[in-house]
Amino acid sequence: MIRLEKRPTPSRAWALSTPIIAVILTMIAGGLMFAALGKDPFEVIRVIFWDPLFSERFAAFSRPQLLVKAGPLILIAIGLSLGFRAGIWNIGAEGQYIIGALCGAAFGLSFYPSESPLIFPGMVIAGLLGGTLWAMIPALLKIKANTNEILVSLLLVYVAEAILASAATSWLRNPDGQGFPGSRNLSRHAGTENPIPLEGLDVLGGFFDLAHVGIFAAMAAVIAAYVLFQKHLLGYQIKLAGQAPRAAKFSGVSPALMVVLCLGVSGALAGVAGLFEVSGPAGQITIDFNVGYGFTAIIVAFLGRLHPVGILFAGLLMALTYIGGELAQLLLQVPGPAIQAFQGMLLFFLLALDVLSNYRVRFGRGGAA
C-alpha cells in the first residue's frame, strides 16, 4: 500500500525539481498520445518545444511571439497570485481584462483624432481603473452580502462579453468602418498605439522585437510582486490570511481589506493587460477580442506555484506550448484538441507531483482488519 505522510516542512528539493520532472513526464505521456495518433512523437515534441525557439525557419517569426503571448498571461497571473495566496478566488480575470480594454479604448478614442502623447498614459490609467472597478463588484458583494466571489466574478465574465459585443457593434464602432463591427484601430494611430520600444533594433536574440509596453509592465509586476511577498508586510498579511485566517484576524489583518486589495489588484492588472492588448497586438475592439488569457492565467498562476518567478517561467512555458502547438498543427497536422490535451497533461503532472513537496510517499504493507 502507498501512503502519504505529511512532511514537517515542505521539501525544497522537490519543490524545485517537480516542474522539470513534470515537463519530462508530459513529454513521455504526450509522446505516447501523438504516437497513437500516428505521428512521430519525437518530431511533434521537437516542433512544440524546440522549433519555435531554435529552428532557422521559424525562430525569427516565433521568438518575438513568445513574449507577446506570455506578457498578458504573466501580468494577469501575478495579480491573481495575490488573491490565490490569500484564499480569495478571482476566477473572472477574463471579464476584468475585457472591461479594462473597453475603458482604455473608449478613453483613447474619445480624443480621436488627437495625437497627444498624454493619451496613451491616460488609456493605461483607464484600463487599470476599469479592471479594478469590475473586480470591485464581487469584492463588495462578498464583503456586504457574503456572496461567493468565485461565482460572481465568473458570471461577470459573461456580462463583460455582452458589453464587449455591444461596444463592438454600436457605441465604439468605427464610424468610418462601413458598418462592420469593431472599433477604430488603436495600434495604427499615433497617440493610442501601444509603443514597441525595441522594435527594429534587433537585440536580445529577437525575443523583444515585438515587446510592447505591456511586456515590460509584466516584468515590472514580477519584480514588484517578488518584493511584496518577500519584504513587505502586505505580502506577509496576504500569505497569513490564506494560510491561517483566524491567526490573520488575530494579528490585525482585516478580512474585508484583503478582499478589496486582492480583487482590486488582480482586476487592475487584468484590466491593464486588456488595454495593452487592444492597443497593441489585437489593435481594436472586436466582438471576439478576448481569447481566454484571463482563464489561462489561472493555470499559469498555479503552474508557477503562486511565486512571481515561477509565474514568469510558467507564462513563458505556456506561451511556448501555444506557439509550438500552432506550429505542430500547421506543419504536422496534429489535431488542435490533441495540443490542448497535451497542455492539460502538463498541468496534471505538475499538480500531481506537487504533492511530493508536501508529502512523503511511503511504501508499506497495508494491514486489513
Binding site: 519584504k231 483566524r246 488575530f250 490585525g252
Partner: protein, 505 residues
C-alpha cells in the same frame, strides 16, 4: 498474579530526530485503572497511539489477554476491545447525539434501537445524556459523555482516556470518576493519561511514569505524594511559583456592561460582562470550555470589535480599535488555540514572531519587514523562554504543543505589555514548562502589568490569581479574592455540573 489484560514489552518508536518511546514496558490487569503519567513530549501520546493502532511500533511486542496484539488500524484495535476517548472531540455539532454515535459505528443499529441502547448505557453508568439533543447545544462535559458512551457501546475491555478532565467542572469530574470506578469494578481496565497528579492519586491503582520516552518509574499513586510523582515525572523538584505581595495599582482595563451576540450559531454570546484589571494584579477567570472564553479574549484583543464605550484601556475608549492599535497602546493577548489562531502552523517561528510583534517591536518600517529584526526577536523568545527547536526557520507546526505555547506566551511577554490577557496558557504543556509560564506571568504582574488568565485548570488559577471570577454561559461572575475560595464554591460559581445531576439508578 493473573495474566495481564495488556502486556507491553520493550515498545520502541522512533521518529526522524527523536525517539518517542524507548523500550517501554508495562502491564495492565483487568479492571485496573492505570495512569500513564509524563510531561508533554514524554511519549504518552505515541504510546497510546500504538495501543490504539494509529502508529506502528518499530520494535517490541504487545499482548492482549496473552495473545499477540498488533493492531494495524484503530478499527482492529476496537474489534479487539480497545476503545479510546480523545482529548479533542470529533463530533458534528449539527447532528444529534445518536446520529454522532451511529457515524462512528461499523454497523450501526436502527436509530430507535440505538437511542435505547444509548439511554440504557447512560443510565447504567451514571452519565446523563439525551440521545436526541443536538451536540451543538451540549456543554464540553456532555460532549465528553457522548464520546465515552460511543466507546462503551463497543463493550471495551480497555478504555483509554486522554486528559479527560481538562474540560470539566469539579462536579463533572466527580461524575466521571464515579463512572470510571464503576467500569473498573465491572472489569474494564482503564488507561488514564493525565498530568494532574491529585486526580491520579484519587482514581488510579497503578501508575507508569514516562520521561523522554523511557519508563522512569512505577508507583501506586495512593501511596506516594503528588510531589514525589512530580519529581519522577520531571526529574527534578518543581518550584512552586512565588511572588512578592504587591498592592494593586490603578485600573488599567475595564469592561463595562458588554453584551455581544455570538458570531456563529454554536458560539457563545457575552452577556452584561463587567471586568476590571488593575496594574500588578492577576485576575483569574475560570469556566468550562465553551462558556465565552474565546469570545471574551477576541473582544479584548480587538479581533472582534465591541460597541463604543464598553471597553476602556488607560481611560481611553478602545472598543472599536483594531488589534494593532491596541497592541501599540500596550494591551496584548494570547488566544487558546495555538495552531491556526495564536500562530500560523506552516509559517516559520520568525514569521510567527511578526504575527503580533510587528506593531510594538517595530519589525516593519514603512511597511517593509525587517527580517533581521524579526529573526532577532524570534531568537530572543526562543532563548529566554527555552523553546526547544532547531532554529527560528522551523515551521510552527513542527514544534511540540508545550514548546509552541512557550513561544506564543514569550512573544507577548517580551513585548512588555501593560495588560496581558491569556487563554489557557498552560493547556497541554508539560509540568515544568507550565511552572515556567506561570512564573513568567507572575513576574509580569510584579512588574506592574495587569494580567488576565483565562483557564480551565482551577488549581492553576488558585495558585496565581489575586482575584477569581467565573464565566458561565457568557456571564462573568463578580470577582472574589482567590485565597478564600474552596473548590466547592468555585464549582458552584462555574455553574455546578451544568444542570446535570448524576442520573440515579
Amino acid at each position: 498474579m493473573t495474566t495481564p489484560l495488556l502486556d507491553i514489552r520493550g515498545l520502541t518508536k522512533a521518529y526522524p530526530g527523536v525517539v518517542a518511546n524507548d523500550d517501554v514496558s508495562f502491564a495492565i490487569a483487568p479492571g485496573e485503572v492505570h495512569a500513564l503519567l509524563g510531561e508533554n513530549g514524554a511519549g504518552k501520546s505515541t504510546m497510546v497511539k500504538m495501543i490504539y493502532g494509529l502508529v506502528k511500533p518499530d520494535s517490541g511486542t504487545m499482548a492482549l489477554n496473552g495473545a499477540p496484539y498488533t493492531p494495524s488500524e484503530p478499527r482492529a484495535a476496537r474489534n479487539s476491545g480497545v476503545a479510546m476517548v480523545f482529548q479533542h472531540f470529533s463530533l458534528f455539532e449539527a447532528l444529534t447525539v445518536a446520529e454522532n454515535i451511529a457515524l462512528g459505528m461499523e454497523n450501526p443499529p436502527k436509530p430507535r434501537d440505538l437511542s435505547e441502547r444509548i439511554s440504557s448505557v447512560s443510565k447504567a453508568y451514571g452519565l446523563p445524556l439525551d440521545p436526541e439533543s443536538l451536540v451543538g447545544d451540549l456543554s464540553a462535559g456532555e460532549r465528553q459523555r457522548v464520546e465515552i458512551i460511543r466507546c462503551l457501546l463497543q463493550d471495551p475491555k480497555l478504555l483509554i482516556m486522554d486528559e479527560p478532565t481538562s474540560v470539566l467542572t469539579p462536579q463533572e469530574v466527580e461524575i466521571l470518576f464515579h463512572t470510571l470506578r464503576k467500569l473498573s469494578a465491572e472489569g474494564t481496565a482503564i488507561l488514564y493519561i493525565s498530568h494532574k497528579l491529585e486526580e491520579i492519586r484519587t482514581l488510579c491503582d497503578e501508575a507508569t511514569i514516562l520521561r523522554l520516552g523511557k519508563v522512569v518509574g512505577e508507583c501506586t499513586p495512593r501511596e506516594v505524594s503528588a510531589a514525589q510523582m512530580a519529581e519522577m515525572m520531571v526529574g527534578k523538584s518543581l518550584a512552586v511559583p512565588a511572588r512578592a505581595a504587591t498592592e494593586p495599582g490603578a485600573v488599567l482595563l475595564s469592561v463595562n456592561n458588554l453584551t455581544l451576540p455570538a458570531a456563529s450559531p454554536f458560539g457563545t454570546s457575552l452577556k452584561e460582562v463587567f471586568l476590571e484589571v488593575r496594574a500588578g494584579e492577576v485576575l483569574g477567570i475560570g469556566g468550562v470550555a465553551g462558556n465565552g472564553q474565546d469570545e471574551l479574549l477576541a473582544v479584548i484583543s480587538g479581533e472582534r470589535r465591541a460597541p463604543a464605550g464598553s471597553i476602556t484601556f488607560k481611560d481611553v475608549d478602545i472598543s472599536t480599535d483594531n488589534p494593532n492599535s491596541r497592541r501599540n497602546a500596550g494591551l496584548l493577548s494570547a488566544p487558546e488555540e495555538r495552531l491556526g489562531h495564536a500562530a500560523a502552523p506552516d509559517m516559520s517561528l520568525t514569521e510567527n514572531a511578526v504575527l503580533t510583534g510587528q506593531a510594538r517591536k517595530k519589525l516593519a518600517k514603512n511597511g517593509f519587514i525587517s527580517w533581521t529584526r524579526a529573526r532577532a526577536f524570534a531568537d530572543d523568545i526562543i532563548e529566554k523562554f527555552d523553546v526547544r527547536t532547531p532554529g527560528n526557520a522551523t515551521a510552527a507546526r513542527a514544534l511540540s504543543g508545550g514548546n509552541l505555547q512557550k513561544f506564543v506566551i514569550g512573544r507577548e511577554i517580551l513585548q512588555d505589555p501593560e495588560v496581558l490577557i491569556v487563554n489557557q496558557p498552560t493547556w497541554g504543556v508539560d509540568a515544568s514548562a507550565a511552572a515556567d509560564i506561570r512564573q513568567a506571568l507572575l513576574d509580569l504582574a510584579e512588574g506592574g502589568t495587569g494580567v488576565i488568565v483565562i483557564s480551565q485548570d482551577l488549581d492553576e488559577l488558585l495558585e496565581i490569581s489575586d482575584r477569581f471570577c467565573a464565566l458561565n454561559e457568557g456571564r462573568l461572575s463578580d470577582p472574589r479574592p482567590a485565597r478564600d475560595l474552596s473548590m466547592e464554591e468555585i464549582g458552584l460559581m462555574l455553574g455546578g455540573a451544568h444542570g446535570m445531576e448524576e442520573a440515579h439508578i
